[in-house]
């Protein structure tokens, strides 16, 4: 046994001893009170992370049974928060499919309809507003993004002397974001889509720093989506609502494209500038474009990221 009290000090009288003890007690009490006071804001911390979510395994280690439970938890949580029972699926990549996006810069008029269709489809936070697509207004004759205008506001588009370049996740074949993630929370799937497990991301934002296309977005606070705007057709790796403190980005509308539909940005485009499909299918539109059109641009090709997102011109 160790002695619990220090040996008495020969120089201290009983009176000063008790005074010292009193002061020590007061200091300890004051310290604990100050500690409690400084932690007081934590009382507002509501369901930051349920124990079920906290202990949830990594996506690739979830058995089908685990996945069913996870999905029912997510559906429960969404219903509780938004009053709508969503339909959450864990859609897997299809065999023999590799998605590619082609964007016709001759046609794009810079109307930003894709930007908003994307927000509606993918349940992005409306406040603060998170957008996956950024449209750059570029002067003719340059592909240098430094010359692009991000915040153009024109009465009507297109404006003379400019072309418009929408940029979103380029679904790289060598994605720098995947390489840098310290916990494998983001990875490339068989069909070429780089996904994020929102329940695994620790929010270090290293991927955001690594992305040469500024395609990733962080939930700096709890996302806000009006109940009536929630899209209930959801995928685990896709558009289910995100939590505070995790990354998100374009996933080629996984909840649509893995179910045989086109991405929302493509469907809304009024000029048909956006083309999407399976590059492994020689009959697909994207295969035709890659074969027949003459000018392709992989944005920042020199990065070696090898995007699956191609820009082309008609003439």
């Amino acid at each position: 046994m160790t002695p619990t009290l220090p040996p008495p000090d020969d120089k201290t009288s009983d009176a000063s001893m008790s005074r010292r003890n009193f002061l020590r007690g007061a200091a300890a009490f004051g310290g604990l009170t100050a500690l409690a006071a400084s932690l007081a804001p934590l009382r507002q911390l509501e369901d930051f992370s349920s124990s079920e979510e906290f202990l949830q395994k990594y996506y690739k280690e979830l058995t089908p049974d685990d996945m069913t439970k996870v999905i029912s938890r997510i559906e429960r949580e969404v219903q509780k928060e938004y009053g709508i029972r969503p339909h959450v699926r864990d859609l897997k990549p299809m065999d023999g499919v590799e998605f590619v996006y082609c964007l016709n810069l001759t046609r794009c008029i810079g109307c930003r309809k894709c930007v908003h269709a994307c927000v509606n489809e993918n349940n992005q936070s409306r406040n603060p507003e998170i957008q996956y697509i950024r449209v750059l207004k570029m002067p003719h004759g340059s592909m240098d993004v430094e010359k692009g205008d991000h915040t153009y506001e024109a009465k009507s588009v297109p404006e003379k002397g400019f072309f418009y370049m929408p940029v979103q996740c380029q679904q790289c074949q060598n994605p720098p974001c995947v390489k840098v993630c310290p916990v494998n929370a983001t990875w490339q799937e068989k069909d070429g889509i780089t996904v994020i497990d929102y329940d695994w991301c620790i929010g270090c934002r290293y991927c955001e720093a690594a992305c040469p296309y500024w395609a990733r977005r962080f939930n700096f606070t709890k996302p806000e989506i009006p109940k009536e705007r929630l899209n209930p057709n959801m995928a685990y790796l896709g558009n289910r609502p995100r939590k505070q403190g995790v990354m998100e980005k374009c996933h080629f509308c996984i909840q649509r494209t893995r179910a045989g539909k086109y991405p929302a940005c493509l469907e809304v485009c009024p000029v048909g500038a956006r083309k999407f499909g399976n590059i492994l299918d020689p009959e697909s539109e994207v295969s035709y474009i890659m074969r027949e059109k003459r000018v392709f641009i992989q944005l920042k090709e020199e990065m070696g990221t090898s995007p699956r997102f191609f820009y082309y011109f008609d003439k």
Binding site: A40, S49, P128, V183, I202, F218, F220, K300
Partner: protein
């Protein structure tokens, strides 16, 4: 075995006790640090509730002063080794007993580093995803996973070396070479690695030309080996002033020559970098242009970087001149280098890497009040740790807390070293 455990418990108890006693100056200092730490904790609690939106960070500038301070402190931690090398490789006697103060500084700095990384996380509750075995550490592909390993490893190494040496001194036993010399040499290499790995964290990002330069690694080391020993020079003088622990001027001057050479190399590398960025005139130099002269009317960092450069140059001149053999001038040079390098490594390296964004947008960054309070809190907590470490280790090194005086009246910690140990009294 039980006796050994019991002895160790007594050692721990006596160390803990001494951390809580002292004169009014000690209480005032510790009280101040505690208050600032709690203010920081309070700010962090707010951040946990509302998210990182309470910081000045954005999707455009997604790392800020947290990572900047982290980067600076990794350097401070690494620099402790600059005292170890002279002692163990060149058998420098002057520094021999002082090594432990450097290593304790490293421990405190790593604690601060880990705190800065933690407060930067959006989901700190998921930290366990980083633990190999139960989590998914992306090793060796992610440089951040390397950083997790080297930082924690460095912490353990230094805790072991300091703890072992102090406990041996307490028992008045000669340290067993095999129990620490291999660790010391591992720590030397490890120290270089923690800073190199942290540099590679930035260097490895092809999409950020400002960081994607091989000079970043060497510059990190040069600036670390300037700021780290500079902090140690100041710390040693404070220890000497308040504890009567004998520290010779010669030891301080040995450290001066380290700071001197490192600062010259640091400034040289800065010149190399500035030349490359500006003379070639490529679009890759755009972040550097933002940093040094401003870009399209945005120049938030310009005053910072020129302050840093001025401080570094003045410090270098003082360090090179013989005048810095006088401690007063040496101290001035040390303070200037520490502040200069803190700015250069923090605001000057981390922030401009994000400006402009890879898509060419310019969004500036200013730390918020809440963010600043968190930073101050962590600094105060780190200083609190370092003060406690020194409070425990100095009397042990002086032999005033030793196994031989167990059971005797405890020191109050503020007596001069020469005070005779009181006669044993009946319990």
């Amino acid at each position: 075995m039980i006796t050994a455990a019991r002895n160790y418990m007594i050692f721990i108890r006596r160390c803990t006790r001494i951390a809580f006693v002292g004169d009014w100056r000690y209480y005032a200092w510790m009280g101040l640090l505690t208050v600032i730490s709690l203010l920081g904790l309070n700010a962090y609690a707010k951040q946990l509730v509302h998210g990182l939106i309470v910081t000045g960070m954005s999707d455009e500038v997604s790392w800020g002063v947290y990572i900047a301070n982290f980067t600076f402190l990794v350097g401070v931690a690494a620099a402790a080794v600059m005292m170890v090398i002279p002692v163990y490789i060149y058998d420098n006697e002057e520094l021999h007993d002082l090594v432990i103060f450097g290593e304790l500084l490293a421990v405190a700095a790593i604690i601060m580093c880990l705190a800065f990384v933690t407060v930067d996380l959006g989901r700190p509750d998921r930290f366990w995803h980083l633990i190999p075995g139960i989590g998914q550490l992306n090793f060796p592909r992610s440089m951040l996973s390397w950083d997790v390993i080297v930082l924690n490893g460095y912490l353990l190494l230094n805790v072991h070396i300091c703890g072992y040496l102090l406990y041996c001194r307490y028992q008045n036993k000669k340290p067993g070479k095999w129990f620490y010399i291999p660790f010391v040499f591992t720590a030397i290499i490890w120290a270089v690695s923690i800073h190199t790995v942290t540099a590679f964290l930035y260097v490895g990002l092809g999409g950020r030309p400002f960081w994607n330069a091989s000079i970043v690694g060497p510059r990190f080391l040069a600036s670390a080996f300037t700021a780290g020993p500079a902090i140690i020079i100041l710390a040693l003088q404070i220890i000497r002033h308040y504890t009567h622990y004998r520290i010779t001027d010669k030891a301080l001057l040995t450290l001066r020559s380290i700071v001197q050479v490192s600062m010259i190399i640091n400034v040289f590398l800065l010149v190399c970098e500035v030349f490359k960025e500006f003379y070639s005139g490529t679009t890759h130099g755009v972040s550097a242009r933002y940093l040094f002269v401003g870009l399209h009317g945005h120049h938030a960092l310009v005053p910072w970087i020129w302050t840093a450069i001025t401080l570094n140059l003045v410090a270098m001149v003082i360090l090179v001149l013989p005048v810095s053999r006088s401690l007063r001038w040496l101290d001035v040079a040390c303070v200037l280098s520490i502040v200069g390098i803190w700015i250069e490594k923090g605001m000057g390296l981390v922030i401009p890497g994000f400006i402009p964004t890879p898509l060419g947008a310019i969004v500036e960054y200013v730390p918020s009040l809440n963010e600043t309070l968190v930073c101050l809190g962590i600094w105060a907590f780190g200083l609190l740790c370092y003060t406690i470490f020194l409070r425990m280790s100095v009397p042990i090194l002086q032999g005033r807390i030793a196994k031989s005086n167990e059971g005797q009246p405890e020191i109050q910690g503020d007596e001069p070293e020469t005070a005779p140990v009181a006669d044993p009294l009946p319990h």
